[in-house]
Symmetry: C2
Subunit: 203 residues, 2 copies
């Protein structure tokens, strides 16, 4: 039953992330249920938005957990985080788009905790000499989350193949856009860090 609710929430994200003013009819249709059932699952629109925010933050928190961002060297931790976060990139896109929307302390507190964990990761990496110190850890956190959100949008709109997502994100964020003739960033040309096996790419 909880899975059912989550499936509806994810479908709702797919609609609301791009059209925040979408009607409940549209959301229900996207979830494959009727408006009546949507109202049975969630009391109202506010409750729906609230639970989307909660789900998204919980997923991101789980990604931080499974990536064990507090352990190991910072670069490897970030690569693990990329792999863990990309599947839920669309939820992050929703958060990035309207995180100001929440008056709920529950959501805001959870948000602060996760951002703080991300911030700590970059601070640690800077102290270790892994990350650049010319860029503030706050900006690195912000930019990383923005790129995750961008991944979510791009995948949703079919502009980016899901199997390329993790590689594209990790390489661009860590290594930047400039070509370096001497040495690659750290990831070999084989897509070891990103996804399982590349076959088709039309979502």
């Amino acid at each position: 039953m909880a899975t059912d609710r989550d499936a509806v929430l994810e479908a709702a994200v797919g609609v609301l992330s791009r059209r925040p003013t979408a009607h409940l009819d549209e959301i229900a249709r996207a979830a494959g249920i009727s408006r009546a059932t949507l109202h049975r699952l969630f009391p109202g629109r506010d409750a729906l938005i609230h639970e989307i925010g909660l789900l998204s933050l919980q997923r991101f928190a789980t990604a931080l957990d499974t990536a064990a961002v507090e352990q190991g060297d910072a670069q490897a931790a970030l690569r693990r985080l990329v792999d863990a976060a990309v599947p839920d990139a669309m939820l992050c896109a929703f958060l990035a788009g309207e995180n100001q929307l929440y008056e709920s302390n529950e959501v805001n507190d959870l948000w602060d905790v996760q951002i703080e964990r991300l911030h700590a990761l970059f601070l640690r990496g800077q102290r270790e000499g892994t990350f650049r110190i010319e860029l503030s850890a706050a900006w690195l956190s912000e930019a990383f989350f923005d790129l995750v959100a961008g991944i979510g949008w791009a995948i949703q709109d079919g502009r980016l193949a899901p199997r390329d997502a993790a590689f594209s994100l990790a390489e661009l964020f860590l290594g930047g856009a400039l070509r370096r003739p001497d040495a690659p960033v750290g990831a070999p040309p084989t897509h070891s860090t990103s996804d399982r096996k590349p076959e088709t790419d039309t979502p």
Copy 2:
């Protein structure tokens, strides 16, 4: 008078970029005018949103023009674009947040043109050997625009100092997050291309 309209539009962006469902009362108050005057300037909510999109795209197009992205080597062109686009980053943030909103062909066509120019810049840079070819030009375009939007949000919420914005954007996007002991990205330690002078870093 056109300046008046633009000022209202920019104020509206400040509200709508974070709260897409904001009432017209709120937008009018943010612009320092009454709801009646807002209705005199723009027939309705749809027209307001439409003109915001138009203004944003025109500003971005102007940034592409002043940066002369079609000329010179690609890296320098991109750095010029950063400097030109950052002042209107919040408008880009609005576009990134709800570019699906527009059914207007006028807006969509303008959007496609600008994205195509950005795409062409990265393609050219890849052919010149400036930009990495492991990352698709489409993804580089997308990510660049996402970061510009992130800059806009971060500045608006006070998480990033405006004078650090261009430097942070250019350095992260071009050089990535990883520290390179041997050589800097290409911009000498003096921030010649982006901003005037870095001093503090606590936003």
